[in-house]
């Protein structure tokens, strides 16, 4: 397993639309996970920037229905902080999976 640092990707902001706005909270979180995983696994064709990943997470945070389930917003906030702090992509992914799992447990 790779453990690439999110902040170490080349910073070409705005190149990729990472959020594709819309969808349920679970869909948006899955989309953010897919983006982070492509960094973690070096699977993507193009390099992603922290800004793009942060945007995808902010898309999740925009939805008010995440407040109905405990901790989802807090996990997403942790994920956003982790991106800002340049934490490894695997760590960001873990926090997003936790948010997705909290949705599953709470639904």
């Amino acid at each position: 397993m790779k453990s690439r640092n999110v902040a170490s990707s080349s910073d070409r902001a705005g190149r990729l639309s990472s959020n594709g706005a819309g969808g349920s909270a679970a869909e948006r979180i899955r989309r953010a996970i897919a983006l982070v995983n492509s960094v973690a696994d070096e699977a993507g064709d193009e390099e992603l920037t922290p800004t793009e990943i942060a945007e995808a997470i902010r898309d999740c945070l925009e939805l008010s229905d995440i407040d109905e389930i405990p901790n989802v917003r807090r996990y997403l906030g942790e994920a956003l902080d982790a991106v800002s702090d340049g934490m490894p992509a695997d760590f960001v992914a873990m926090t997003l999976y936790a948010a997705l799992g909290a949705l599953r447990e709470g639904s």
């Binding site: 397993m1 995983n37 901790n71 942790e78 902080d81 934490m87 760590f91 873990m94 936790a98 997705l100």
Partner: protein, 423 residues
């Protein structure tokens, strides 16, 4: 059914528990001493375990470990020992006609070991290696860390083998002094089961067991302080899997609800029909290895869950486990699930009783720790008496305790883990 065992007082305050099983080919014998790593302060951490190792190095009559091994293996027997937190046991299993020999070797080991200075140094190196090996085995490391969290600053929270610092500092005098204080007749129960004649066994033990008779008066250990808050302890290691132990203080083995706790543990995470296995592994595919376990002592205990999981799924798996714990506190388990758990528990206990070794340990353990012995039938009846309401009551108690979590894996920070358990 009347009890098949007999409890006989021995000179000096020792006790013999013996059960004749005439249809068996073997006899097993156990010398079980009250005490263990729980009685050690930080300076003496690991001394009980050190003694147990050293006692196989040679006695006055059998001056080397080879002579001890030859004596028992020469008749096809087994000999071994184990150190626990509240007891230390030396045991052997031999074809029945060699019962006297096996007792003679065990008595020789515990009363006449040479504790040679050179052996102390050699064994110190072996134990230090053992301790370092645990550091390299994440499953062991994470459980040791978990116990540090469950019993912080208390000997119960320390590895039975001690710490590298304490083992490095123990002197031969420390070891001899400690053994002399604890290996005394009032602190030992001798157990025997197999094809034996109880009066003969009693005679062999009474004549052969030569330890000091006066009590040492040093068998007390403080009760751990209550835990006030949830905590997370992370050791960062570049492992491919994350290793997590999660749990809370639970019941002592003196608690009448211990049977309910054991069944709760079975329902939750013992075996492939447990909730953790079926839901976390089979349904969600979150973890390869997920199971629960308990540890019980005189005045405390815990229930823990081990999770071996891909690091990215670590917190998700923790949350899923917490969901299973909460479900046990929210709803009574279904009658058929409880029945399955009871049959699992009773079946395992009966299978343990298949061997003379199993019976000898079962009897000795109870006599030493409880001062009385339940027959298998009495024990099975206690299991059968547990209700779904009992399990729910114990689960509620458990989830109200502050959760503790240890993690070994490639994690740079603990924030998401702390969030999961409210730490």
């Amino acid at each position: 059914m009347p009890a098949a065992h007999r409890v006989l007082p021995l000179p000096g305050g020792a006790r013999l528990v013996a059960e004749s099983m005439p249809e068996r080919q073997s006899t097993s014998m156990v010398l079980m001493f009250a005490g263990g790593s729980r009685l050690e302060d930080d300076r003496l951490g690991g001394v009980s375990h050190f003694i147990e190792h050293l006692y196989f190095k040679g006695t006055k009559r059998r001056p080397s470990s080879k002579e001890i091994a030859d004596a028992i293996e020469g008749v096809g027997g087994f000999i071994n020992a184990s150190t626990d937190k509240e007891l230390t046991a030396y045991w052997a299993r031999v074809p029945s006609e060699h019962e006297d020999l096996a007792f003679d070797i065990l008595f020789d080991i515990v009363a006449n070991s040479r504790v040679d200075e050179a052996d102390v140094e050699k064994e110190r190196m072996v134990i230090l290696d053992e301790l370092r090996m645990y550091q390299d085995q994440p499953q062991d490391l994470v459980q040791n860390l978990f116990e540090e969290l469950i019993w912080p600053g208390h000997p119960l929270g320390r590895d039975i083998a001690g710490t590298e610092q304490s083992v490095a500092r123990l002197t031969r005098d420390d070891i001899i002094e400690y053994a002399d204080a604890h290996y005394r007749l009032p602190n030992v129960v001798v157990g025997a089961a197999g094809s034996l004649d109880v009066p003969h066994t009693a005679d062999v033990v009474a004549r052969g067991l030569a330890l000091r008779a006066d009590p040492d008066g040093a068998l007390d250990s403080s009760t751990p302080d209550p835990l006030s808050a949830p905590r997370v302890l992370i050791r960062r290691r570049q492992t491919a899997e994350a290793h997590i132990c999660l749990g809370a203080r639970a019941l002592s083995y003196m608690d009448p609800d211990r049977y309910a706790l054991d069944l709760l543990n079975t329902v939750l995470g013992e075996g492939m029909s447990s909730r953790l296995f079926l839901n976390i592994r089979e349904r969600l595919g979150l973890a390869y290895d997920v199971h629960s376990f308990t540890q019980k002592h005189r005045d405390t205990g815990y229930l823990g869950v081990y999770i071996g999981v891909e690091p990215k799924k670590a917190v998700d798996a923790v949350n899923a486990v917490l969901g299973e714990l909460r479900a046990l506190a929210d709803d009574e388990v279904a009658e058929d699930e409880l029945t399955r758990a009871k049959e699992f528990t009773k079946g395992r206990l009966r299978l343990e009783m298949e061997t003379t070794n199993g019976v000898a340990f079962w009897l000795t353990y109870q006599q030493l720790l409880f001062g009385e012995i339940k027959t298998i039938d009495e024990e099975l009846a206690q299991v059968d008496a547990v209700t779904a309401a009992d399990l729910k009551r114990v689960a509620i108690k458990l989830v109200r305790e502050p959760l503790q979590m240890s993690v070994v894996g490639p994690f740079a920070r603990d924030s998401a883990f702390r969030l999961a358990i409210g730490a």
